[in-house]
């Protein structure tokens, strides 16, 4: 019982804060008689959301599919790249600095270029962007996992007279697994953001990002914000899924994080 209560208590402050924030927003708009084309009330966003529920869910599906394909492809490529970079010396020396540098660049801007490479109704450029976003996060994390084993574990392996190959398979590789799941947890919401933003740059009008930019620009701010809420839900879903995956797959990581 007390454990359940403690969990609830952890959720209570943010919930109260969120409710207060929405209440203050609502009150402020009413009190200052702010016009809807300047700022809409949360209650109007809520009802717009209910009115457009089906369309929002459809858009979440489109954008979510792009993000998911990007996440899976990016994760696979990231692992492959990290293994290559760790195993083949010149690949590592070539790719590692590039990966770190690219990580600091807002890669969504590349979408403008990709959109022109494909026909207007193609989802491919958006998927490529989501893939790239996931790739670099996973690559950097897995590479770190392959390189950074605990010194004690490495000394132990040496004392066991393990060959470099055994050391790689028995220590570096499994160690990289825990970094992989941390990478996926970070990459998951990032692919959603990337997939949403990628739609701002043209192409199909069926996803969340396209609808957000469309409705906000034609003064239907309540509908636009309802789509924003849909994007938030999608991001949280991705994050939640990846966090549970990490929790189950690498349980020892829970402790490491809380330390």
């Amino acid at each position: 019982m007390s454990a359940v209560w403690r969990r609830l208590k952890a959720f209570l402050p943010p919930l109260v804060f969120g409710a207060l924030f929405l209440g203050a927003w609502e009150g402020f708009v009413v009190w200052r008689k702010i016009e809807p084309f300047v700022l809409v009330k949360p209650s109007e966003v809520w009802s717009a959301g209910l009115d457009n529920m089906q369309r929002i869910v459809d858009a979440m599906e489109v954008t979510g599919t792009n993000a998911l394909i990007g996440l899976v492809a990016g994760t696979l490529l990231g692992c492959l790249g990290a293994l290559l970079a760790a195993g083949v010396r010149w690949v590592g020396e070539l790719v590692n600095p590039i990966a770190v540098a690219v990580n600091a660049i807002p890669i969504v801007v590349l979408i403008a270029m990709f959109t022109r490479l494909y026909e207007a109704d193609s989802e491919t450029p958006r998927r490529i962007m989501a893939t790239l976003a996931a790739f670099f996060v996973v690559f950097v994390n897995v590479s770190r996992g392959l390189r950074q084993s605990s010194p004690t574990q490495l000394e132990l392996m040496r004392s066991f007279a393990a060959s470099p190959r055994q050391q790689f398979i028995k220590v570096r590789l499994p160690n990289a697994m825990s970094f992989l799941f941390t990478g996926i947890r970070v990459a998951a919401p990032l692919t959603v953001i990337t997939a949403v933003v990628a739609e701002y740059f043209g192409g199909n009008r069926n996803g969340l990002g396209a609808s957000i930019s469309g409705f906000l620009s034609i003064s239907k701010k309540d509908v636009g914000l309802a789509y924003v809420a849909g994007a938030s839900v999608l991001g949280l879903l991705f994050f939640g899924f990846a966090a549970v995956l990490e929790y189950v797959a690498v349980p020892w990581q829970r402790r490491r994080d809380s330390r």
């Binding site: 004392s159 055994q166 499994p174 020892w252």
Partner: protein, 265 residues
């Protein structure tokens, strides 16, 4: 008497010829008889961990010779003549307790059934048979350290090298683990070289306490303890125990003149 470890005139210099050169060990000699329990004690930077790593072939001496069971340290390492335990248990988080203990045997190419039997035998020895399928993160610090010891002894090495293995444990667990270690070593006839910061720990465990000093790292005195081999809780209250603690403390104090230099490891 056969020698388990024979260290002769060993120097170890880190970063030789560079501005940050450190004389970690200078003219160190130490003979450890088979079956003996030896503690290395001294201030930070006295090179006790370095000496342990030289014996383990994790480092190479700058000068002098080291023999382990009459072989070079490298050969002894390849033959898994020794097991090692560190302050951090260093368990592999993704392996169950049993799989952790099996690892050195697995690397040696033992077949599955045989190494599993050995792992269970080792679990009996460290008195944790019911945790065979547990994962390391489900164990307390003391239990993790026991598994680390079980793993170090899995291949039945004749020599156990330990670097402050109980340093991260609380005092009660620590005393309990010391008693357990003595019991295990008596049961397995293992020679032990044990690095510690704690004077009571060194005195309680050892046949001889090797006192070292820093700057440069060297052995200043070797104190035979000569407590009854069947130590129990009463030993910690015996007069001889306190006398020996005082003797080691005084030896340490005397050796601290000119102390300083690099921290251990």
């Amino acid at each position: 008497m056969t020698l388990a470890v024979n260290v002769t005139a060993v120097d170890k210099v880190f970063n030789a010829g560079r501005p940050n050169q450190v004389d970690a060990l200078t003219d160190v000699g130490l003979q450890v008889t088979a079956g003996e329990f030896i503690s290395l004690i001294g201030p930070s930077g006295c090179g006790k961990s370095t000496l342990l790593r030289l014996i383990a072939d994790l480092l190479q001496p700058t000068a002098g010779t080291i023999e382990v069971n009459g072989k070079s340290p490298r050969q002894a390492r390849l033959d898994q003549d020794y097991g090692m335990a560190f302050q951090q248990a260093g368990l592999f988080e993704w392996r169950s307790v049993t799989k952790n203990i099996e690892l050195p045997l697995e690397l040696k190419g033992w077949d599955k059934a045989k190494r599993h039997d050995r792992a269970l035998e080792m679990l009996e020895l460290v008195k944790l048979p019911d945790r065979a399928n547990a994962m390391p993160w489900q164990l307390s610090g003391g239990q993790q350290q026991r598994i680390a010891i079980a793993r170090a002894l899995a291949a039945h090495p004749s020599l156990l090298l330990m670097d402050e293995p109980f340093g991260a444990l609380d005092e009660m667990t620590r005393e309990h683990m010391q008693a357990e270690l003595l019991r295990i070593c008596a049961a397995t006839q293992t020679t032990v070289v044990f690095v510690t910061h704690s004077i009571p720990e060194a005195v309680y465990l050892s046949d001889r306490v090797v006192v070292m000093s820093a700057g440069p790292g060297r052995i200043t005195s070797i104190i035979p303890v000569g407590l009854d081999r069947s130590r129990d809780e009463g030993t910690r209250e015996a007069k001889r125990f306190y006398d020996k603690i005082t003797e080691v403390r005084e030896a340490l104090r005397g050796s601290e003149v000119g102390a300083g230099g690099r921290d251990d490891r």
